[in-house]
Symmetry: C2
Subunit: 197 residues, 2 copies
């Protein structure tokens, strides 16, 4: 019978294997070996290698979504909400360089995944950012000239790019520094004086 | 003897094939067929399939770099420079959805590529954005509180993410709208009043 902890063990093993060998060079049998299960056991839980990658992503986003919801629950100030969101994102990425690498790099390898428009957790993640922007606009704290969905996508692009750079080991400075500066940049912009709002 | 136009034809064919079938599912023989050359001819110009993808990327970035240099040559105002950079980037992406898909999606499939730290054209592209920020800071137009390299990476992440969304056909609104809003966001930020600089 399927056991939740065995599923979890396979996903954790997959993250290590995919990060080390790359998704396309990895074999399901390597994941099985790393997880300490028989090859056939994998197929009790997952359809194929693509499915393992998708589940790694979906589970991770689900987990980060839960953390974001917890962290944001009692915060009203839109500025505080956006900076908390970025901090929880970077903290989650920083927990595992292997997971960060799999999510930011290896994930895009699966074109099956990229074309799947039913990626509800990722859509919910983007919607969460857009919602913070909308609330900020409703409060009058954020300018209403910007499309919240587009701002959310740009914000996600920026934090994902910095996470990727960090996961690839090219980033010298810390993720917390990157987090602080990114939030500052999105809140206040580059120019020393604001444009007309 | 190697002919430049044959090399170009192979690269153009590769973009079509990679965009249609995905990089990993594509075969060198498909690229040869699409280019109208013999399989062996490919290897006069390229080491292997990875090398073709890398050359697609390097050539494209080289071309965009040239366009950016031309477009920015006579512009002094930092705000104008940043918005011109974004416009040239989005215009280049918009010229070919297939190329945009290969660059934003398929490229990340090649872990060989991702780990290659000698990606000079990409480094030059990021440096070009960082330089615009630095100049703006020197002019006093941009706040000096932000690290130019980090701001450049965040800016690239944002425009790359919006280009990816567009290439994947999920984006409803136009790229020119995305361009305008992204530049506005990076220049003036979300908040209705500026933080202390």
């Amino acid at each position: 019978m399927a056991q939740p902890d065995k599923r979890r063990r396979i996903l954790d093993a997959a993250v290590q294997v995919f990060a080390q060998f790359g998704f396309y060079n990895s074999k399901v049998s390597q994941v099985a070996k790393e997880a300490g299960v028989a090859d056939g056991t994998i197929y009790l839980y997952f359809k194929n290698k693509d499915d393992i990658l998708i589940q790694v992503f979906v589970d991770s986003i689900d987990e980060i979504l839960r953390r974001q919801e917890d962290a944001l629950a009692d915060i009203v100030d839109p500025i505080e909400r956006l900076s908390t969101f970025a901090r929880v994102h970077f903290d989650s990425v920083a927990e595992s360089r292997a997971l960060a690498e799999v999510i930011t790099v290896e994930l895009r390898q699966s074109s099956k995944f990229m074309r799947n428009t039913d990626l509800k957790p990722f859509g919910r993640y983007l919607a969460m950012i857009a919602h913070i922007v909308e609330e900020g606009q409703a409060h009058g704290a954020f300018s209403s000239r910007l499309n919240p969905r587009l701002a959310a996508r740009a914000f996600f692009g920026a934090i994902d790019e910095l996470a990727l750079e960090w996961a690839m080991g090219r980033r010298q400075s810390s993720l917390s520094d990157a987090c602080e500066q990114t939030v500052d940049l999105f809140l206040s912009g580059l120019v020393t004086r604001p444009h007309a709002n």
